[in-house]
Symmetry: C2
Subunit: 664 residues, 2 copies
């Protein structure tokens, strides 16, 4: 039916277009003949060797008397492979005309039945086997609500809502009951425009830290005993509140973190997904587990909170990772002291206030914005903190590990998600168009400020020139600028220090490697915000890179097919192991890479960013993180203590189970 509608539009535009129709469906062909009328400005096409009996009815006066082109695809296997596979899939489908026409039992009326009348008869216009987006994860977990940014009305509506919110003034402060009040100390400016003051901030001091730990300790037992279902319901309520307040959080993600609109929408959705996912996981995996055992004894395993948790989150996902850490720790029964990144405290303050609004007690989730070196040290040293969740640099994770080892008392969990040196390998069988689109997304999307972002691209030498040329073409189309505009692809980096480091790396690379392309940053933006041009270099060898560059800088290396094992070894020996991408249409190649490359997240024939909660559980190994993976099934149990309860049920007078056992 879609084909027919498109055909109709094409035929109606024959003053501009010469339509060509290649179909093996007799009814479709007949419909086109009727729709086209007497105007012969179009042609049919027939694949050489296929559907000849049908096309025999077209050419000639006593037939339909239309033109038909016989065509045959010509080219090398790399060009034709995908075409061939798609053709096989289509023709092999049970529903295809060419398949059904050979089936003698099919009545001809069915075969040529009007698709429009069939569509009208359907009880539901949506396909019953294709779930609506909200139902993508089944009955137990709602998918977060999306925003269709390709729809003009939706986009206009969103702009209307966020425009005033972009101009508001926000604030960040310690959210610690019974702490002393103070006046705001500093102004917060937007990374996309340093003249734009977006809010003011009060940093937490040592007194706030002490008070917060005291509160979190006091509040713990009651919170822990509220039970899984109570807390899971609160998570869902917070998720729904975030969805309702989406425009405000999108606005803050744009002006405080410099996110593009698409990234800002994804940011809020991820936070919502964490709420719904961990609520569902808690109900499934933290409920008491009945254990098998001898008769006369009941045995169960109960999970409960550990105590006050410290959650230290990064600026690159200032709402999503922040929310993920916090709600996971909370639903498991812990109280939480959240330390947001210094650069993104406004959005964190807003999130925690919203949590209080939906019913999380104020001592159960507290916020300590301010300097990491002070707050992190004071809290990590405190024996009352029973667990730490950290996302940030490998080096800071190490400092936290040493701080908690130095204190006396129990050994507490430290869940660290840290840096990476993320690599993509592209072999000669890959589809170059797809490679280029995915490389641009992976390396330059979010200004390269994702833990998962692509840093080093290995191209098989046979296809390197071609792909580099196409990539440079694609980079020419990238627009750097104001993230408020939907047309902007790349926004600013987070702050001047990050910018300076990245620009210095670009300068160094210009000396030591081959510059392939550097996207230009419009002058008005460059002067007002902390922008870094998306840049690509070709390197001689991987040793030229010493550390992760957390921005839109791509490094390209060529490799020989015979060096593949060596490259896998190089990747594994970096010590990092976060994300890895590969493009190949050879399944043995894919299997080898999936098996041998030691990283947390492997992406095949797609971009390597944007892990979805519960779909691509996220986190690395080695220097990239301790595990368990965020948004995965092993996360929540790690935040709990376990208690086994074994009860002799016969102690009150006998074994009721045995007495009531049926005799056969």
């Amino acid at each position: 039916m879609s084909y027919l509608v498109c055909a109709q539009k094409l035929l109606a535009s024959r003053d501009h277009i010469f339509p060509q129709f290649a179909t093996h469906n007799a009814r479709t062909l007949a419909s086109i003949d009727v729709m086209a009328g007497e105007n012969a400005d179009y042609e049919f096409q027939c694949l050489h060797g296929m559907g000849r009996p049908l096309y025999d009815q077209i050419v000639g006066k006593n037939k339909l008397n239309r033109v038909c082109r016989i065509y045959a695809p010509v080219g090398h296997h790399e060009d034709l492979l995908a075409y061939l596979v798609r053709r096989l899939l289509e023709n092999g489908a049970n529903t295809s005309f060419v398949n059904r026409i050979t089936d003698e039992s099919q009545p001809i009326e069915d075969l040529v039945r009007d698709p429009l009348s069939r569509a009208r008869e359907l009880s539901s216009k949506a396909h019953p086997h294709i779930p609506l987006p909200v139902d993508l994860y089944g009955k137990d977990r709602k998918n977060s609500r999306g925003v269709n940014l390709t729809d003009h009305h939706t986009l206009h509506d969103l702009h209307q809502k966020i425009s005033p919110l972009l101009e508001c003034s926000y604030d960040s402060r310690p959210l610690v009951p019974e702490a002393l009040c103070r006046q705001p100390e500093k102004l917060v400016r937007s990374p996309m425009n340093h003249h734009h003051v977006i809010g003011q901030q009060i940093d937490a001091d040592e007194h706030d830290c002490q008070k917060a730990v005291e509160n979190a300790t006091t509040a713990f037992v009651e919170w822990d005993q509220k039970g899984i279902n109570y807390r899971a319901a609160l998570l869902r309520r917070f998720g729904e509140a975030l969805e309702s307040a989406m425009p405000a959080f999108i606005a803050l993600a744009i002006i405080e973190a410099g996110k593009t609109i698409a990234d800002a929408v994804a940011e809020v959705r991820e936070a919502v997904d964490f709420c719904y996912y961990y609520a569902d996981q808690a109900e499934k995996h933290l409920a008491p587990i009945i254990l098998p055992g001898p008769t006369g004894e009941s045995n169960q395993l109960v999970l409960h909170g550990r105590g006050p948790f410290l959650c230290i989150s990064p600026w690159n996902f200032p709402l999503a990772i922040f929310t993920g850490q916090v709600v996971a720790a909370l639903v498991a029964g812990n109280t939480v002291i959240a330390k947001p990144a210094e650069a993104t405290s406004l959005i964190a303050t807003k999130a925690v206030r919203l949590m209080h609004t939906v019913g999380f007690p104020e001592k159960v989730i507290q916020l300590l914005p301010g300097r990491g070196s002070l707050i992190g040290h004071v809290l990590a040293s405190d024996e009352r903190i029973k667990g730490i969740m950290f996302t940030g640099s490998t080096q800071v994770a190490k400092t936290i590990q040493r701080t908690i080892a130095a204190r006396d008392g129990e050994i507490i969990p430290l869940i660290a998600e840290t840096g990476g040196q993320n690599i993509m390998i592209v072999d000669s069988s890959a589809l170059p168009e797809q490679v280029v689109a995915d490389v641009v997304d992976s390396a330059f999307g979010s200004a390269g400020q994702r833990c998962s972002a692509l840093r080093v691209l290995y191209l098989q030498e046979d296809v390197a020139d071609k792909i580099i040329t196409m990539l440079m073409g694609a980079m020419k189309e990238l627009r750097v600028g104001d993230p408020c505009h939907i047309a902007t692809d790349v926004g600013p980096v987070i702050h001047a220090a990050a910018q300076a480091g990245l620009l210095a790396h670009i300068e160094r690379m210009k000396q030591e490697a081959t510059l392939l392309y550097e996207v230009s940053v419009p002058d008005d933006h460059a002067s007002r915000g902390t922008f870094v041009p998306p840049t690509a270099f070709e390197l001689e060898n991987i040793q030229q890179l010493t550390e992760e560059q957390f921005g839109p800088i791509l490094h390209i290396l060529r490799f020989k097919e015979s060096d593949l094992e060596k490259i896998i070894e190089e990747i594994n020996s970096t010590g990092y192991g976060l994300t890895f991408g590969a493009h190949s249409r050879i399944s043995q190649m894919i299997d080898t890479l999936c098996k041998k490359v030691r990283v947390g997240n492997v992406y095949i024939n797609r971009n390597m960013i944007g892990a979805v909660v519960g779909v691509q559980p996220f986190g690395g190994e080695g220097l990239s993180g301790t595990g368990p993976k965020a948004g995965g099934p092993h996360y929540l149990p790690r935040l709990c203590a376990e208690k086994t309860i074994s009860i002799n049920t016969t102690a009150t007078g006998g074994n009721a189970t045995l007495l009531s056992l049926p005799e056969d």
Copy 2:
């Protein structure tokens, strides 16, 4: 039928016994009347107020002409409660005579049917709803094979098998391929008799440590890629091999660790259970997990090994905990370097050799017996070690934590299971006989050398005197001595240092507390082995105890009912949280304790030792351990790294799933 068989035996022994029969079953009563014949030396009994119509048929010439005693239980609720409940359960059971006789629909022939003929008709003599011991945990996991020590034939057979093995000479040495060979350096003596040399030992040196890490690193990738099913099968094979070699391991547990026969049997069974349990768990929880997601994409979560693990095990479960750590790390895909306790290296050496025999490669599981301070430090400092499992003292765990924090590189998992200060609370509703039996087991069993053993008993003051008196009576019956004899209840402690510490504590307590009872140690044993007398003290307050005493010493405190909340707080504020026991027949009391006491393992109305793999997952919180619990469902995932693999399945030409979707 059992009742009738017993009645028959009693009636046959009327020259020594005057049998008394209390039954409400008319057929049973009639059977006894027939079996007893003319000899009137027995009586029937009838509970006052019950079954009167039946007993009306007994007394008097024109009846059965037998004696019938009417009885009524007299006493306080604490004496009668259990009796009453059991009576209710029995009478309430569908199968009971008194229940069925009121059912008019039951034909009288059924009611008085011969139980022997019914038993003959059963297709299986075993009850179909009561599983055989081997099937206790269902189809997926075999229970370990037990030894019925109450059966004379079995016991005799076991003695025959182990006697020669007790006299053998064993050896312990580094099991490290390609390490240098050395001559044995020291003799190993039995803790039960220091004149008895049971083997000789070579300690590992630094060279052995380096070589072992090198081997474990080299062997890792291949071992990890063998797959879950391959490794699970090896675990099961090792479990079966341990069962086959049970006599040898029992003998070693007795002579090297001073275990009693019952403890030695339990030791081997626990090791076997770990093999079967983790094999099953690995197949269930470490297999790839398919994740939901959009069409056109395949997402899965794969678990795999982390690398070389160091497993440091204690002497108190020299085979069980040793095996549990090692096989868990192995089945998850890690290679293992095992460091057994210095005091119990012979049994560990034998176990690892057996592992090599069943097919574990020699570089995959290596053994480094020797000094913990040397081996532990060298290995924990080595960046190639990717995980540590430790069971031992809280203090050594802390040292390990600091060692791994000090080294560079990744943050690795440390699973520590450490000390406790285990408490039992007994309220006035508890059944004293049961309390005393469980206290003796929990405090003095295994010479108190269990992590889970009872150290502090809180008795509600109302029942304290009575229970203490009964406990002293029970302690008088305890036999300390040679663990080879089945009559021995308590064997030696592990070595002279442990003995000295415990004896010093007993001396201090004799000054500072009230000695209730001290079991005597026969002189011949005292002179040859490291024995400590089981001893009980009454304390004024819990502060008189500063640290865990790892031996057969029980401390008793009295408490007022109104102080319960305070005691719970005291328990929670020790910082430890391993095991906790309670005896009470008040369900609200039980609920409160289960909920509020923060420990890993809670035992109600039973002893508080002998956690069974998969039934009572074991491990504490706070100073007692990091979790996850050994023998529980969260253990294996902690030993793995996680990898998400996300594949765009449409890249090869189209979305085959959508094309093959049924239309309705």
